[in-house]
Symmetry: C2
Subunit: 245 residues, 2 copies
């Protein structure tokens, strides 16, 4: 890899920033992969806002409604640091994010919660899964991008709310457990299908995962281990709310 | 009015707070009116969050969607200081707020925007009107409550966004102006009908406006002047976006 900071991107489009870009960005494929990743995370947060705001309408009490609406707001606040960084990388943040609209919208269309509890499980299990996935990818990246991604995904303690409400719901009506367990499996399946499609459609992202001439990447065994870790953490989350996985 | 700080409310239910209550709170009717007002404002903010989050779905671009979603989040953040104060007044904030659900929901049901522009006008004109109304009532209250209400209603600069987008929309399609002007009139009419009903159903609130043995209140002429001011400010807002009123 011929790496020199001066060769980053088109100088016409170069961002005005005093921080030098990490060396890895001199590889256009790496740069594109980071832009794709940030775009996916950014659109994911906007989409999470929309979905949580819709779930808030199903809340059984006004207090629950405000709690879910607050989760929605937290997701939205995470968009700003992502957009800022995309602007630094000399791209229009909203165009990059919008390019992920179809995949995320398809996921949400296929997993529309039928009631308050399905919404809670989706917020808790789905967001946990997405965060784990982005964390795994971030581990492959330069320190600056990794720190940004990890800060964006930091747990805001809202999972506790979902865990408590789901457990209480199952205690009140044990039949709920079977339905929500199936629902959790379906969420996992749909998430994998969409994640796979997103990566497959983006050469830069799949290059990042598969590695390349200059990138260590992940071999098939490593990708297998990654999916095992994602599945295990999903199972942990399901257990935490008292559901079979 | 026999006023002593010690006589405020039921001691069993008294809030643990070090700040002495303003003298006015020794009058149970005054206390109830303040609780009603804060409840109405609090539910109004929650309801504004819900409606803006729904409008965000109609946004023509992702950037506009995020701008509207951000407005929704700001509205939601305003709920906390109101709930805190209601708790200090020894009432359950969510029960008080929930008692205003029917009136606000009826308003929103009767004024569901047909498109993005109607949503923008409703956010801008409707919220402006509600804020003006609450400001007028706050002017009748003790300094502590007044400051809380005014801080809650502080303009967040989001009106600018709406004004800019509505003006651009009308410039692009001048026929929009006629439809939005009618829409603004309808919003004003519905808001007055609902505000009047809310006050009429609550003895404490109407007592506050009408005055009583110990409260100066507003005479009919003063109420007339208040409505004139509200109407004038509504007209100013309509003019600011280039609409007849």
């Amino acid at each position: 890899m011929v790496a020199s900071v001066g060769s980053v991107g088109d100088p016409e489009q170069a961002p005005r920033t005093d921080k030098p870009e990490p060396l890895a960005f001199s590889d256009p494929a790496y740069r594109e992969a980071v832009i794709d990743l940030l775009g996916a995370i950014g659109y994911g947060e906007i989409s999470a806002f929309e979905r949580l705001a819709e779930d808030a309408r199903l809340a059984p009490t006004l207090e629950d409604k405000v709690a879910i609406a607050r989760m929605a707001s937290v997701q939205l606040q995470r968009v700003d640091p992502i957009s800022d960084r995309l602007r630094e990388l000399a791209v229009d943040p909203y165009s990059v994010m919008a390019s992920f609209r179809d995949s995320f919208d398809a996921f949400h269309r296929h997993t529309a919660p039928a009631d308050w509890y399905e919404g809670l499980v989706k917020a808790y299990v789905g967001d946990g899964l997405a965060d784990d996935f982005f964390r795994e990818i971030a581990a492959q990246l330069d320190a600056q991008t990794r720190d940004l991604v990890l800060a964006t995904l930091q747990d805001t303690g809202h999972a506790e709310f979902a865990v408590e409400r789901i457990r209480t719901g199952i205690a009140d009506d044990p039949r709920l457990a079977g339905r929500l367990a199936l629902w959790g499996r379906r969420l996992m399946g749909e998430a994998l299908v969409q994640a796979q499609q997103v990566v497959a459609e983006r050469d830069a992202l799949s290059g990042l995962l598969a590695g390349g001439v200059d990138l260590p990447g992940l071999d098939l065994a490593a990708i297998g281990r990654m999916f095992t870790r994602l599945t295990e953490r999903h199972a942990d989350r399901m257990s935490a709310v008292g559901l079979e996985h």
